[in-house]
Symmetry: C2
Subunit: 282 residues, 2 copies
Amino acid sequence: MNIAIVGLGVIGGSLAKAFTKYTDHTVMGLNRSVETAKQALEDGAIHKIATKEDLKEADIVYMCTYPHHIAKFVEENGELFKKGCIVTDVCGIKTEICSKLPEICKRHGLEFVGSHPMAGKEQFTYIASEAELFQGASYIIVPCGASEKSVETIKNIAMELGFGMTCVTTPEEHDRMIAFTSQVPHVLACSYVLSPCCPKHVGFSAGSYRDVSRVANINETLWTDLFLSNKEPLITELNILINNLSMMRDAIGENDSDRLRELLKASRLIKEGLGEGVISKN
Amino acid sequence: MNIAIVGLGVIGGSLAKAFTKYTDHTVMGLNRSVETAKQALEDGAIHKIATKEDLKEADIVYMCTYPHHIAKFVEENGELFKKGCIVTDVCGIKTEICSKLPEICKRHGLEFVGSHPMAGKEQFTYIASEAELFQGASYIIVPCGASEKSVETIKNIAMELGFGMTCVTTPEEHDRMIAFTSQVPHVLACSYVLSPCCPKHVGFSAGSYRDVSRVANINETLWTDLFLSNKEPLITELNILINNLSMMRDAIGENDSDRLRELLKASRLIKEGLGEGVISKN
Protein backbone atom coordinates (compact mmCIF):
# COMPACT_ATOMS: atom_id res chain seq x y z
CA MET A 1 0.00 0.00 0.00
CA ASN A 2 0.94 3.62 -0.36
CA ILE A 3 1.31 5.32 3.01
CA ALA A 4 1.48 9.09 3.58
CA ILE A 5 2.74 10.47 6.87
CA VAL A 6 1.89 14.11 7.52
CA GLY A 7 4.18 15.56 10.22
CA LEU A 8 7.60 14.01 10.80
CA GLY A 9 8.06 14.65 14.52
CA VAL A 10 9.05 11.95 16.98
CA ILE A 11 5.87 9.91 16.36
CA GLY A 12 5.51 10.51 12.61
CA GLY A 13 9.25 9.98 12.13
CA SER A 14 9.21 6.78 14.17
CA LEU A 15 6.20 5.48 12.22
CA ALA A 16 8.03 6.22 8.96
CA LYS A 17 11.16 4.43 10.17
CA ALA A 18 9.14 1.44 11.38
CA PHE A 19 7.26 1.28 8.04
CA THR A 20 10.43 1.27 5.97
CA LYS A 21 12.27 -1.09 8.32
CA TYR A 22 9.56 -3.66 9.05
CA THR A 23 7.05 -3.56 6.14
CA ASP A 24 6.92 -3.56 2.33
CA HIS A 25 4.63 -0.54 2.10
CA THR A 26 5.72 2.58 0.23
CA VAL A 27 6.06 5.61 2.49
CA MET A 28 5.96 9.28 1.58
CA GLY A 29 6.42 12.08 4.09
CA LEU A 30 4.97 15.57 4.13
CA ASN A 31 6.48 18.02 6.57
CA ARG A 32 6.28 21.78 7.17
CA SER A 33 10.08 22.08 7.39
CA VAL A 34 11.66 20.77 4.19
CA GLU A 35 14.98 20.20 5.97
CA THR A 36 13.43 17.55 8.19
CA ALA A 37 11.77 15.85 5.21
CA LYS A 38 15.11 15.83 3.38
CA GLN A 39 16.79 14.33 6.45
CA ALA A 40 14.09 11.63 6.61
CA LEU A 41 14.64 10.81 2.92
CA GLU A 42 18.40 10.67 3.47
CA ASP A 43 17.91 8.37 6.49
CA GLY A 44 15.77 6.04 4.40
CA ALA A 45 12.84 6.71 6.75
CA ILE A 46 10.66 7.68 3.75
CA HIS A 47 10.81 6.73 0.08
CA LYS A 48 9.68 10.12 -1.17
CA ILE A 49 9.07 13.70 -0.03
CA ALA A 50 5.38 14.37 -0.68
CA THR A 51 3.57 17.50 -1.79
CA LYS A 52 -0.11 17.93 -0.96
CA GLU A 53 -0.86 16.88 -4.54
CA ASP A 54 0.85 13.53 -3.92
CA LEU A 55 -1.74 12.71 -1.25
CA LYS A 56 -4.02 11.42 -4.04
CA GLU A 57 -1.72 8.37 -4.27
CA ALA A 58 -2.03 7.43 -0.60
CA ASP A 59 -4.20 4.52 0.55
CA ILE A 60 -3.72 5.55 4.18
CA VAL A 61 -2.82 8.97 5.56
CA TYR A 62 -1.30 9.13 9.07
CA MET A 63 -1.88 12.62 10.48
CA CYS A 64 0.96 13.15 12.99
CA THR A 65 0.80 16.90 13.54
CA TYR A 66 -0.39 18.79 16.66
CA PRO A 67 -4.03 17.89 17.45
CA HIS A 68 -5.64 21.25 16.63
CA HIS A 69 -3.94 21.26 13.22
CA ILE A 70 -5.43 17.98 12.01
CA ALA A 71 -9.06 19.00 11.43
CA LYS A 72 -7.90 22.18 9.71
CA PHE A 73 -5.55 20.32 7.36
CA VAL A 74 -8.09 17.68 6.33
CA GLU A 75 -10.83 20.29 5.97
CA GLU A 76 -8.66 22.39 3.63
CA ASN A 77 -7.00 19.58 1.65
CA GLY A 78 -9.53 16.74 1.78
CA GLU A 79 -10.36 17.13 -1.92
CA LEU A 80 -6.75 16.25 -2.79
CA PHE A 81 -6.91 12.86 -0.97
CA LYS A 82 -7.75 9.64 -2.84
CA LYS A 83 -11.50 8.88 -2.54
CA GLY A 84 -12.12 6.08 -0.04
CA CYS A 85 -8.70 6.31 1.57
CA ILE A 86 -8.27 5.83 5.32
CA VAL A 87 -7.29 8.85 7.40
CA THR A 88 -5.92 8.16 10.87
CA ASP A 89 -4.14 10.15 13.59
CA VAL A 90 -1.93 9.68 16.67
CA CYS A 91 -3.57 12.08 19.17
CA GLY A 92 -3.33 11.30 22.87
CA ILE A 93 -6.87 12.56 23.54
CA LYS A 94 -9.75 11.28 21.44
CA THR A 95 -13.13 12.82 22.36
CA GLU A 96 -12.39 16.11 20.65
CA ILE A 97 -10.79 14.78 17.47
CA CYS A 98 -13.49 12.11 17.11
CA SER A 99 -16.21 14.73 17.30
CA LYS A 100 -14.87 16.40 14.14
CA LEU A 101 -12.80 14.14 11.89
CA PRO A 102 -15.35 11.43 10.99
CA GLU A 103 -17.73 14.07 9.65
CA ILE A 104 -15.04 16.08 7.81
CA CYS A 105 -13.65 12.90 6.22
CA LYS A 106 -17.09 11.67 5.19
CA ARG A 107 -17.79 14.95 3.45
CA HIS A 108 -14.67 14.45 1.33
CA GLY A 109 -15.36 10.76 0.65
CA LEU A 110 -12.66 9.56 3.07
CA GLU A 111 -12.86 7.29 6.11
CA PHE A 112 -11.55 8.24 9.55
CA VAL A 113 -10.20 5.71 12.06
CA GLY A 114 -8.81 7.20 15.29
CA SER A 115 -5.49 5.86 16.57
CA HIS A 116 -3.30 6.31 19.63
CA PRO A 117 0.04 4.52 19.61
CA MET A 118 0.93 4.11 23.31
CA ALA A 119 4.57 5.11 23.10
CA GLY A 120 6.35 8.39 23.31
CA LYS A 121 9.43 10.20 24.40
CA GLU A 122 10.32 13.29 26.33
CA GLN A 123 11.66 14.76 23.09
CA PHE A 124 9.37 15.75 20.28
CA THR A 125 11.33 16.27 17.12
CA TYR A 126 12.34 14.02 14.25
CA ILE A 127 15.86 13.71 15.72
CA ALA A 128 14.48 11.56 18.54
CA SER A 129 12.51 9.22 16.25
CA GLU A 130 13.41 5.53 16.05
CA ALA A 131 12.02 2.47 14.29
CA GLU A 132 11.92 0.54 17.59
CA LEU A 133 9.84 3.08 19.54
CA PHE A 134 6.68 0.98 19.30
CA GLN A 135 8.12 -2.48 20.02
CA GLY A 136 5.71 -4.30 22.29
CA ALA A 137 3.55 -1.23 22.97
CA SER A 138 -0.23 -1.09 22.69
CA TYR A 139 -1.92 0.49 19.65
CA ILE A 140 -5.33 1.85 20.61
CA ILE A 141 -7.96 2.15 17.85
CA VAL A 142 -11.04 4.36 18.17
CA PRO A 143 -13.18 3.43 15.12
CA CYS A 144 -15.69 6.33 15.39
CA GLY A 145 -18.07 4.59 12.99
CA ALA A 146 -15.44 3.38 10.50
CA SER A 147 -16.02 0.07 8.69
CA GLU A 148 -14.72 -3.19 10.16
CA LYS A 149 -12.50 -3.61 7.11
CA SER A 150 -10.70 -0.29 7.72
CA VAL A 151 -10.29 -1.04 11.43
CA GLU A 152 -8.79 -4.43 10.49
CA THR A 153 -6.39 -2.75 8.06
CA ILE A 154 -5.13 -0.32 10.71
CA LYS A 155 -4.90 -3.13 13.25
CA ASN A 156 -2.85 -5.38 10.94
CA ILE A 157 -0.46 -2.58 10.09
CA ALA A 158 0.09 -1.89 13.80
CA MET A 159 1.20 -5.47 14.31
CA GLU A 160 3.49 -5.24 11.25
CA LEU A 161 5.08 -2.12 12.76
CA GLY A 162 6.06 -4.00 15.91
CA PHE A 163 3.30 -3.10 18.34
CA GLY A 164 2.65 -5.81 20.92
CA MET A 165 -1.13 -5.53 20.99
CA THR A 166 -4.11 -3.57 19.70
CA CYS A 167 -7.10 -2.41 21.68
CA VAL A 168 -10.40 -1.12 20.21
CA THR A 169 -12.46 1.33 22.27
CA THR A 170 -14.70 4.42 22.30
CA PRO A 171 -13.39 8.00 22.56
CA GLU A 172 -14.91 8.39 26.04
CA GLU A 173 -13.45 5.16 27.44
CA HIS A 174 -10.10 6.01 25.86
CA ASP A 175 -9.93 9.42 27.47
CA ARG A 176 -11.04 8.11 30.87
CA MET A 177 -8.36 5.40 30.84
CA ILE A 178 -5.62 7.70 29.53
CA ALA A 179 -6.40 10.16 32.33
CA PHE A 180 -5.50 7.35 34.74
CA THR A 181 -2.63 5.58 32.95
CA SER A 182 -0.78 8.56 31.51
CA GLN A 183 -2.05 11.99 32.59
CA VAL A 184 -2.21 11.38 36.35
CA PRO A 185 1.40 10.05 36.44
CA HIS A 186 2.54 13.23 34.68
CA VAL A 187 0.66 15.55 37.08
CA LEU A 188 2.03 13.41 39.89
CA ALA A 189 5.67 13.55 38.82
CA CYS A 190 5.44 17.34 38.52
CA SER A 191 3.73 17.69 41.91
CA TYR A 192 6.26 15.36 43.54
CA VAL A 193 9.42 17.20 42.46
CA LEU A 194 8.02 20.50 43.82
CA SER A 195 8.77 19.27 47.38
CA PRO A 196 11.58 21.27 49.03
CA CYS A 197 13.33 17.91 49.64
CA CYS A 198 13.70 17.16 45.94
CA PRO A 199 16.87 19.13 45.13
CA LYS A 200 18.62 17.36 48.06
CA HIS A 201 17.65 13.81 47.11
CA VAL A 202 21.05 12.56 45.92
CA GLY A 203 22.45 10.01 48.39
CA PHE A 204 19.01 9.39 49.87
CA SER A 205 17.24 8.05 46.82
CA ALA A 206 16.93 4.88 44.79
CA GLY A 207 14.44 3.37 42.34
CA SER A 208 11.26 4.71 43.97
CA TYR A 209 12.33 8.32 43.58
CA ARG A 210 13.60 7.69 40.06
CA ASP A 211 10.37 6.09 38.89
CA VAL A 212 7.89 8.60 40.34
CA SER A 213 9.88 11.65 39.23
CA ARG A 214 10.88 10.42 35.74
CA VAL A 215 8.29 12.19 33.60
CA ALA A 216 8.61 15.52 35.47
CA ASN A 217 10.94 16.41 32.62
CA ILE A 218 7.82 17.59 30.79
CA ASN A 219 7.02 19.66 27.68
CA GLU A 220 4.79 22.10 29.56
CA THR A 221 3.15 23.60 26.46
CA LEU A 222 2.05 20.29 24.98
CA TRP A 223 0.89 18.84 28.31
CA THR A 224 -1.02 21.94 29.33
CA ASP A 225 -3.04 21.46 26.12
CA LEU A 226 -3.44 17.72 26.71
CA PHE A 227 -4.57 18.20 30.33
CA LEU A 228 -7.07 20.95 29.48
CA SER A 229 -8.53 19.01 26.57
CA ASN A 230 -9.28 16.10 28.90
CA LYS A 231 -10.41 18.16 31.85
CA GLU A 232 -13.35 16.17 33.25
CA PRO A 233 -11.82 12.66 33.23
CA LEU A 234 -8.51 14.01 34.53
CA ILE A 235 -10.08 15.92 37.40
CA THR A 236 -12.12 12.85 38.32
CA GLU A 237 -8.95 10.74 38.52
CA LEU A 238 -6.98 13.41 40.38
CA ASN A 239 -9.77 13.63 42.95
CA ILE A 240 -9.75 9.85 43.38
CA LEU A 241 -5.98 9.91 43.92
CA ILE A 242 -6.05 12.86 46.32
CA ASN A 243 -8.83 11.14 48.24
CA ASN A 244 -6.90 7.85 48.51
CA LEU A 245 -3.73 9.67 49.57
CA SER A 246 -5.72 11.56 52.20
CA MET A 247 -7.20 8.31 53.58
CA MET A 248 -3.72 6.85 54.00
CA ARG A 249 -2.38 10.06 55.50
CA ASP A 250 -5.24 10.12 58.00
CA ALA A 251 -4.69 6.49 59.01
CA ILE A 252 -1.01 7.34 59.62
CA GLY A 253 -1.91 10.52 61.49
CA GLU A 254 -4.32 8.63 63.76
CA ASN A 255 -1.84 5.77 64.34
CA ASP A 256 -4.55 3.50 62.98
CA SER A 257 -2.31 0.57 62.06
CA ASP A 258 -5.23 -1.80 61.31
CA ARG A 259 -6.80 0.62 58.85
CA LEU A 260 -3.46 1.42 57.22
CA ARG A 261 -2.56 -2.25 56.87
CA GLU A 262 -5.97 -2.95 55.31
CA LEU A 263 -5.55 -0.15 52.76
CA LEU A 264 -2.04 -1.30 51.81
CA LYS A 265 -3.21 -4.89 51.59
CA ALA A 266 -6.07 -3.89 49.25
CA SER A 267 -3.48 -2.19 47.02
CA ARG A 268 -1.19 -5.20 47.05
CA LEU A 269 -4.05 -7.53 46.12
CA ILE A 270 -5.01 -5.36 43.13
CA LYS A 271 -1.40 -5.23 41.93
CA GLU A 272 -0.88 -8.96 42.50
CA GLY A 273 -4.17 -9.73 40.78
CA LEU A 274 -2.84 -8.02 37.67
CA GLY A 275 0.08 -10.44 37.62
CA GLU A 276 2.52 -7.58 38.03
CA GLY A 277 3.93 -8.70 41.38
CA VAL A 278 7.44 -9.05 40.05
CA ILE A 279 10.51 -8.63 42.16
CA SER A 280 12.18 -5.30 41.64
CA LYS A 281 14.54 -3.02 43.49
CA ASN A 282 13.28 -0.25 45.73
CA MET B 1 38.29 -8.42 59.92
CA ASN B 2 35.76 -10.73 61.45
CA ILE B 3 32.22 -9.80 60.48
CA ALA B 4 29.06 -11.11 62.15
CA ILE B 5 25.69 -10.76 60.43
CA VAL B 6 22.67 -11.22 62.66
CA GLY B 7 19.55 -11.96 60.62
CA LEU B 8 19.93 -13.52 57.16
CA GLY B 9 16.91 -12.05 55.37
CA VAL B 10 17.15 -10.35 52.00
CA ILE B 11 19.41 -7.56 53.32
CA GLY B 12 21.52 -9.62 55.76
CA GLY B 13 21.82 -12.39 53.17
CA SER B 14 22.82 -9.96 50.42
CA LEU B 15 25.41 -8.32 52.70
CA ALA B 16 26.84 -11.77 53.51
CA LYS B 17 27.01 -12.69 49.81
CA ALA B 18 28.63 -9.34 48.92
CA PHE B 19 31.18 -9.76 51.76
CA THR B 20 32.22 -13.23 50.64
CA LYS B 21 32.18 -12.34 46.95
CA TYR B 22 33.88 -8.94 47.00
CA THR B 23 36.02 -8.75 50.19
CA ASP B 24 38.58 -10.77 52.16
CA HIS B 25 36.78 -10.41 55.48
CA THR B 26 35.61 -13.49 57.37
CA VAL B 27 31.83 -13.69 57.70
CA MET B 28 29.74 -15.56 60.23
CA GLY B 29 25.95 -15.61 60.20
CA LEU B 30 23.52 -15.92 63.08
CA ASN B 31 19.91 -16.65 62.21
CA ARG B 32 16.78 -17.66 64.11
CA SER B 33 16.01 -20.42 61.63
CA VAL B 34 18.94 -22.84 61.43
CA GLU B 35 17.82 -24.07 57.99
CA THR B 36 18.44 -20.64 56.48
CA ALA B 37 21.86 -20.41 58.14
CA LYS B 38 22.74 -23.86 56.77
CA GLN B 39 21.61 -22.78 53.30
CA ALA B 40 23.78 -19.65 53.56
CA LEU B 41 26.77 -21.78 54.56
CA GLU B 42 26.11 -24.17 51.70
CA ASP B 43 25.84 -21.22 49.26
CA GLY B 44 29.19 -19.89 50.44
CA ALA B 45 27.44 -16.71 51.63
CA ILE B 46 28.97 -17.18 55.11
CA HIS B 47 32.10 -18.94 56.31
CA LYS B 48 30.56 -20.14 59.55
CA ILE B 49 27.23 -20.47 61.36
CA ALA B 50 27.58 -18.41 64.53
CA THR B 51 26.21 -18.94 68.02
CA LYS B 52 25.75 -15.96 70.32
CA GLU B 53 28.99 -16.99 72.02
CA ASP B 54 30.84 -16.56 68.71
CA LEU B 55 29.96 -12.87 68.70
CA LYS B 56 33.03 -12.22 70.91
CA GLU B 57 35.16 -12.83 67.80
CA ALA B 58 33.43 -10.19 65.66
CA ASP B 59 35.05 -6.81 64.96
CA ILE B 60 31.81 -5.57 63.40
CA VAL B 61 28.28 -6.82 63.99
CA TYR B 62 25.64 -6.03 61.32
CA MET B 63 22.19 -6.21 62.94
CA CYS B 64 19.82 -7.12 60.07
CA THR B 65 16.70 -8.17 61.97
CA TYR B 66 13.37 -6.34 62.26
CA PRO B 67 13.89 -2.87 63.82
CA HIS B 68 12.14 -3.47 67.17
CA HIS B 69 14.23 -6.61 67.71
CA ILE B 70 17.61 -4.90 67.52
CA ALA B 71 17.65 -2.97 70.80
CA LYS B 72 16.32 -6.02 72.63
CA PHE B 73 19.01 -8.29 71.17
CA VAL B 74 21.92 -5.98 71.95
CA GLU B 75 20.54 -5.22 75.41
CA GLU B 76 20.33 -8.93 76.26
CA ASN B 77 23.53 -10.11 74.58
CA GLY B 78 25.82 -7.08 74.66
CA GLU B 79 28.10 -8.67 77.25
CA LEU B 80 28.93 -11.46 74.76
CA PHE B 81 30.21 -8.99 72.13
CA LYS B 82 33.93 -8.13 71.84
CA LYS B 83 34.70 -4.92 73.78
CA GLY B 84 35.15 -1.98 71.44
CA CYS B 85 33.54 -3.69 68.46
CA ILE B 86 31.35 -1.73 66.06
CA VAL B 87 27.61 -2.48 66.03
CA THR B 88 25.66 -1.28 63.02
CA ASP B 89 22.19 -1.87 61.55
CA VAL B 90 20.23 -1.59 58.28
CA CYS B 91 16.98 0.05 59.49
CA GLY B 92 15.06 2.25 57.05
CA ILE B 93 14.07 4.71 59.80
CA LYS B 94 16.72 6.16 62.08
CA THR B 95 15.35 8.54 64.74
CA GLU B 96 13.99 5.74 66.89
CA ILE B 97 16.92 3.33 66.66
CA CYS B 98 19.43 6.16 67.17
CA SER B 99 17.66 7.21 70.35
CA LYS B 100 18.40 3.81 71.94
CA LEU B 101 21.34 1.96 70.42
CA PRO B 102 24.22 4.39 71.10
CA GLU B 103 23.42 4.33 74.81
CA ILE B 104 22.88 0.55 75.01
CA CYS B 105 26.12 -0.08 73.12
CA LYS B 106 28.10 2.35 75.26
CA ARG B 107 26.92 0.59 78.41
CA HIS B 108 28.37 -2.66 77.06
CA GLY B 109 31.62 -1.06 75.85
CA LEU B 110 30.57 -1.23 72.16
CA GLU B 111 30.25 1.49 69.55
CA PHE B 112 27.09 2.07 67.49
CA VAL B 113 27.14 3.48 63.94
CA GLY B 114 23.74 3.68 62.25
CA SER B 115 23.50 2.48 58.64
CA HIS B 116 20.89 2.41 55.89
CA PRO B 117 21.84 0.65 52.66
CA MET B 118 19.57 2.22 50.03
CA ALA B 119 18.57 -0.95 48.22
CA GLY B 120 15.84 -3.46 48.72
CA LYS B 121 13.43 -5.80 47.11
CA GLU B 122 9.78 -6.60 47.27
CA GLN B 123 10.72 -9.97 48.77
CA PHE B 124 12.11 -10.23 52.25
CA THR B 125 13.64 -13.65 52.77
CA TYR B 126 17.11 -15.09 52.28
CA ILE B 127 15.96 -16.72 49.01
CA ALA B 128 15.80 -13.29 47.37
CA SER B 129 19.26 -12.20 48.54
CA GLU B 130 22.01 -11.51 46.01
CA ALA B 131 25.59 -10.24 46.12
CA GLU B 132 24.81 -7.59 43.49
CA LEU B 133 21.87 -5.99 45.32
CA PHE B 134 23.92 -2.98 46.41
CA GLN B 135 25.82 -2.25 43.18
CA GLY B 136 25.92 1.49 42.68
CA ALA B 137 23.43 2.23 45.49
CA SER B 138 23.94 4.79 48.25
CA TYR B 139 25.00 3.71 51.76
CA ILE B 140 23.73 6.19 54.33
CA ILE B 141 25.62 6.48 57.61
CA VAL B 142 24.16 8.03 60.76
CA PRO B 143 27.09 8.26 63.20
CA CYS B 144 25.06 9.09 66.35
CA GLY B 145 28.21 10.19 68.18
CA ALA B 146 30.48 7.37 66.97
CA SER B 147 34.18 8.08 66.44
CA GLU B 148 35.45 9.23 63.06
CA LYS B 149 37.55 6.08 62.84
CA SER B 150 34.51 3.81 63.15
CA VAL B 151 32.55 5.87 60.62
CA GLU B 152 35.50 5.58 58.21
CA THR B 153 35.63 1.82 58.72
CA ILE B 154 31.92 1.40 57.91
CA LYS B 155 32.27 3.76 54.94
CA ASN B 156 35.24 1.87 53.46
CA ILE B 157 33.49 -1.46 53.82
CA ALA B 158 30.43 -0.07 52.01
CA MET B 159 32.60 0.82 49.02
CA GLU B 160 34.23 -2.65 49.13
CA LEU B 161 30.75 -4.21 49.01
CA GLY B 162 29.92 -2.43 45.75
CA PHE B 163 27.94 0.58 46.92
CA GLY B 164 28.27 3.57 44.59
CA MET B 165 28.44 6.26 47.25
CA THR B 166 28.19 6.95 50.98
CA CYS B 167 26.33 9.78 52.65
CA VAL B 168 26.72 10.86 56.30
CA THR B 169 23.78 12.54 58.02
CA THR B 170 21.73 12.97 61.20
CA PRO B 171 18.79 10.75 62.18
CA GLU B 172 16.35 13.63 61.68
CA GLU B 173 17.61 14.62 58.23
CA HIS B 174 17.69 10.96 57.23
CA ASP B 175 14.08 10.38 58.19
CA ARG B 176 12.89 13.59 56.53
CA MET B 177 14.60 12.70 53.26
CA ILE B 178 13.50 9.05 53.33
CA ALA B 179 9.89 10.20 53.84
CA PHE B 180 10.24 11.99 50.49
CA THR B 181 12.42 9.60 48.47
CA SER B 182 11.00 6.26 49.57
CA GLN B 183 7.92 6.42 51.79
CA VAL B 184 5.85 8.87 49.72
CA PRO B 185 6.35 6.81 46.51
CA HIS B 186 5.09 3.73 48.37
CA VAL B 187 1.99 5.51 49.74
CA LEU B 188 1.50 6.93 46.26
CA ALA B 189 1.73 3.61 44.41
CA CYS B 190 -0.81 2.10 46.81
CA SER B 191 -3.16 5.09 46.49
CA TYR B 192 -2.84 5.06 42.69
CA VAL B 193 -3.81 1.43 42.12
CA LEU B 194 -6.97 1.89 44.22
CA SER B 195 -8.56 3.80 41.29
CA PRO B 196 -11.45 1.85 39.71
CA CYS B 197 -9.60 2.26 36.37
CA CYS B 198 -6.60 0.23 37.52
CA PRO B 199 -7.85 -3.32 36.89
CA LYS B 200 -8.73 -2.29 33.30
CA HIS B 201 -5.38 -0.68 32.45
CA VAL B 202 -4.04 -3.34 30.05
CA GLY B 203 -3.98 -1.99 26.50
CA PHE B 204 -4.15 1.61 27.73
CA SER B 205 -0.91 1.76 29.66
CA ALA B 206 2.81 2.12 29.12
CA GLY B 207 5.84 3.20 31.15
CA SER B 208 4.10 5.90 33.23
CA TYR B 209 1.61 3.46 34.70
CA ARG B 210 4.29 0.82 35.24
CA ASP B 211 6.62 3.18 37.10
CA VAL B 212 4.08 4.80 39.43
CA SER B 213 2.38 1.51 40.33
CA ARG B 214 5.50 -0.65 40.68
CA VAL B 215 5.94 -0.65 44.46
CA ALA B 216 2.22 -1.18 45.17
CA ASN B 217 3.23 -4.82 45.49
CA ILE B 218 3.94 -4.02 49.13
CA ASN B 219 4.59 -5.97 52.36
CA GLU B 220 1.79 -4.27 54.28
CA THR B 221 2.97 -5.39 57.73
CA LEU B 222 6.50 -4.08 57.37
CA TRP B 223 5.45 -0.82 55.70
CA THR B 224 2.70 -0.09 58.21
CA ASP B 225 5.44 -0.20 60.87
CA LEU B 226 7.81 1.91 58.79
CA PHE B 227 5.15 4.55 58.04
CA LEU B 228 3.98 4.81 61.66
CA SER B 229 7.53 5.03 63.00
CA ASN B 230 8.17 8.03 60.74
CA LYS B 231 4.80 9.67 61.20
CA GLU B 232 5.64 13.40 61.38
CA PRO B 233 8.05 13.67 58.42
CA LEU B 234 5.84 11.42 56.30
CA ILE B 235 2.68 13.40 56.99
CA THR B 236 4.53 16.63 56.22
CA GLU B 237 5.60 15.25 52.83
CA LEU B 238 2.17 13.79 52.06
CA ASN B 239 0.58 17.15 52.80
CA ILE B 240 3.05 18.89 50.49
CA LEU B 241 2.24 16.41 47.72
CA ILE B 242 -1.53 16.62 48.22
CA ASN B 243 -1.26 20.40 48.19
CA ASN B 244 0.75 20.44 44.95
CA LEU B 245 -1.64 17.99 43.30
CA SER B 246 -4.56 20.15 44.38
CA MET B 247 -2.95 23.29 42.90
CA MET B 248 -2.54 21.56 39.55
CA ARG B 249 -6.06 20.13 39.69
CA ASP B 250 -7.47 23.58 40.42
CA ALA B 251 -5.55 25.17 37.54
CA ILE B 252 -7.00 22.49 35.23
CA GLY B 253 -10.49 22.92 36.68
CA GLU B 254 -10.36 26.69 36.15
CA ASN B 255 -8.93 26.33 32.61
CA ASP B 256 -6.04 28.46 33.85
CA SER B 257 -3.53 27.48 31.18
CA ASP B 258 -0.98 30.15 32.18
CA ARG B 259 -0.92 28.98 35.79
CA LEU B 260 -0.78 25.31 34.79
CA ARG B 261 2.05 25.93 32.33
CA GLU B 262 3.99 27.82 35.01
CA LEU B 263 3.60 24.99 37.53
CA LEU B 264 4.69 22.36 35.00
CA LYS B 265 7.60 24.53 33.91
CA ALA B 266 8.75 24.91 37.53
CA SER B 267 8.74 21.12 37.84
CA ARG B 268 10.67 20.65 34.61
CA LEU B 269 13.31 23.16 35.71
CA ILE B 270 13.83 21.33 39.02
CA LYS B 271 14.15 17.98 37.25
CA GLU B 272 16.44 19.40 34.56
CA GLY B 273 18.52 21.16 37.21
CA LEU B 274 19.23 17.78 38.77
CA GLY B 275 20.70 16.57 35.50
CA GLU B 276 18.08 13.86 35.23
CA GLY B 277 16.47 15.14 32.04
CA VAL B 278 17.23 11.99 30.12
CA ILE B 279 15.17 10.72 27.24
CA SER B 280 12.90 7.89 28.24
CA LYS B 281 9.73 6.28 27.00
CA ASN B 282 6.32 7.34 28.26
